[in-house]
């Protein structure tokens, strides 16, 4: 699938922009702060209903405006499709598919993109929440139904935390606390489904990650990943300085039983602290490089390569499993960070995707095999380069 045309209205710094894109590599060149990333952010928005840079939508709407519009014309297998997202400062966002009213959450079904940006270094070095978001976003792209399960889990979690908090404040009657079991049951139901789905995803991702890492960094490097489950007693946020041993990649034959047991175990502590201590919201994706945890041991370059390998692996997985063909691969400002040989490896690794969009401040940073079509961006204006 490719994005053949992108139009923006009042999105970020663009009052209005029209950008034609072609299959194969496209390079957006411009100095810093001209709006290159805003263009690829818009594509990412349609694919994930979020931005890789900010958590709310408000920052995406041009200052002083109430509504931003992102429209994309897609091509896949000889068919065209028109997607539109309308972001509203107040009130719900709207969406259109082929000019017919649709729900925003229908958009990601038609467009897949994998975006790699400098912020992704946090996948390796940052908090577990970033890695959970990475997994969940990919899950939803592969199986849209799971968006509902994740949202329901989150609702149950907030209800349960409220109950625990009020229990702690002793504002709560005996009978009200008895409903904790009810919420436990729902937490286990949705939580087990998420754990199962993530576990499955990690298993499918693993060979792709190992392969992608080797491609970037050369052989004799082993990149491994494993899901660390808080219901099995692994508390990633509390392991501190001590290097965690590589968690057995256990998918408990019966996640539900393990989850229930874990809840029973931490009941006292949960009542003391007023929060839910085990469940997929406390799990982590453990990244291991040559038998050492990447977080804390990997060098800057290695961390970069690992983050990149995770993104390339998700692109490979989407390509293999998604009904809409290749995802649009977006490399946002990444070549400047890589040395000559890694640039060439990366160019090689993404070269055969249906569409690749690259942003760069300096065209010379981009390997020549990817500079087919170049577009210059100056102060929110798009100028074709005619190459």
């Amino acid at each position: 699938m490719i994005v053949a045309h992108l139009s923006l209205h009042d999105f970020r710094n663009y009052e209005s922009a029209e950008l034609a894109l072609s299959a194969g590599p496209n390079v957006l060149v411009g100095s810093n702060g001209q709006g290159k990333t805003n263009l690829v952010e818009a594509i990412g928005y349609l694919a994930t209903l979020g931005s890789h840079r900010v958590s709310g939508d408000a920052a995406l709407i041009r200052a002083g405006r109430d509504t931003a519009i992102v429209r994309a014309r897609l091509q896949h297998a000889g068919r065209e499709m028109l997607l539109e997202a309308q972001l509203n400062r107040s009130g719900a966002n709207r969406a259109q598919v082929n000019r017919a009213q649709a729900k925003p959450r229908d958009l990601p079904r038609h467009i897949a993109s994998v975006l790699f940006a400098p912020e992704d270094l946090a996948l390796v070095r940052g908090e577990p929440s970033g890695r959970r978001r990475f997994l969940d976003q990919l899950l939803v792209q592969l199986s849209p139904r799971l968006a509902g399960v994740l949202a329901d889990y989150d609702r149950v979690l907030r209800q349960r935390n409220s109950l625990l908090k009020s229990a702690r404040a002793a504002r709560v009657s005996e009978s009200q606390l008895s409903t904790l079991e009810i919420w436990d049951e729902r937490l286990v139901e949705f939580g087990s489904e998420i754990i199962g789905a993530r576990h499955d995803l990690v298993a499918r991702l693993r060979p792709h990650v190992a392969e992608a890492y080797e491609r970037i960094a050369g052989p004799d490097h082993a990149a491994e990943l494993a899901l660390q489950l808080s219901i099995l007693g692994v508390q990633p946020e509390e392991d501190g300085a001590q290097a965690p041993t590589l968690a057995e990649d256990v998918a408990p034959a019966d996640t539900v039983t393990a989850f229930r047991a874990a809840l029973a175990n931490v009941r006292r502590a949960e009542l003391d602290r007023g929060i839910t201590l085990v469940g997929p919201h406390r799990d982590d994706l453990h990244l291991v490089l040559n038998a050492l945890p990447a977080r804390g041991y990997a060098s800057h370059g290695e961390s970069w390569s690992f983050a990149l390998a995770l993104k390339l692996a998700s692109a490979a997985l989407l390509r293999a499993e998604s009904p809409i063909g290749d995802p649009v691969v977006v490399l946002d400002d990444v070549f400047a960070e890589l040395d000559e040989s890694r640039r060439a490896q990366l160019a090689h690794a993404v070269g055969d995707y249906e569409q690749v969009i690259i942003t760069a401040a300096v065209l010379e940073d981009v390997p020549s095999e990817l500079t087919g079509r170049t577009v210059r961006i100056v102060a929110g204006r798009i100028a074709e380069d005619g190459q």
Partner: protein, 199 residues
């Protein structure tokens, strides 16, 4: 912003559920400028509604007497009770004209975030209604969302007693709709709840 009382009126309408600032403004100006609009009648109704309306002492539905018209109706089956969250759910089910039993309005769903626990809902009254074993089936018709499902689970445990059948409304495809337009969750539920078709 308008001056004084007009803005106050708009703000007050805007506090009502389902009414945004623009609708609030439109209603306020309609009242202000339409001569035929009887403001006294509306004011009277607003003043009286809380005085006159009571909640049925048996089922919790809105009523003008001590009990509601459904609980007073001898033609209705006394052996089935349908449990709903709000009185407006009674109206929704009544529109179907399919259900001829009695109702029980809980007054909401379990939601710790809103401070709603079992003590705030009419569970005890429900258990009392079941005491004399006239009722043989309880249909749980709480909403198919997180709080409604939690309430249903709570009820299932609460009502676990011999001789009482507890059922839950089915979830599935909307009638007259197209399969292709159903969202994945609904379609998934419909798959789970599929039935054998008799030849």
């Amino acid at each position: 912003m308008y001056e004084g009382i007009v803005q106050e009126l708009i703000d007050e309408f805007g506090r009502l559920p389902g009414i945004g600032p623009k609708s609030a403004q439109r209603i306020a100006f309609h009242i202000l400028t339409t001569q035929s609009f009887d403001t006294t009648r509306l004011a009277e109704l607003l003043a009286e509604v809380r005085e006159r309306v009571r909640f049925c002492s048996i089922c919790g539905n809105v009523a003008e007497q001590d009990t509601c018209s459904i609980c007073r109706d001898p033609r209705r089956s006394q052996t089935v009770i349908c449990v709903v969250e709000e009185a407006k759910d009674v109206a929704a089910i009544e529109r179907t004209r399919e259900f001829r039993g009695l109702y029980h309005v809980l007054g909401g769903a379990l939601s710790p975030m809103d401070g709603v626990g079992p003590d705030n809902l009419r569970f005890t009254q429900l258990v009392q209604r079941l005491a004399d074993a006239t009722v043989t089936e309880v249909i749980i018709a709480t909403n198919p969302n997180v709080t409604g499902e939690a309430t249903a689970t709570y009820l299932t445990r609460l009502l676990d007693q011999p001789g009482l059948r507890v059922t839950r409304l089915a979830s599935g495809l909307p009638v007259g709709g197209d399969l292709e337009y159903a969202d994945e969750v609904t379609l998934g539920r419909a798959f789970e709840g599929r039935r054998t078709v008799e030849a």
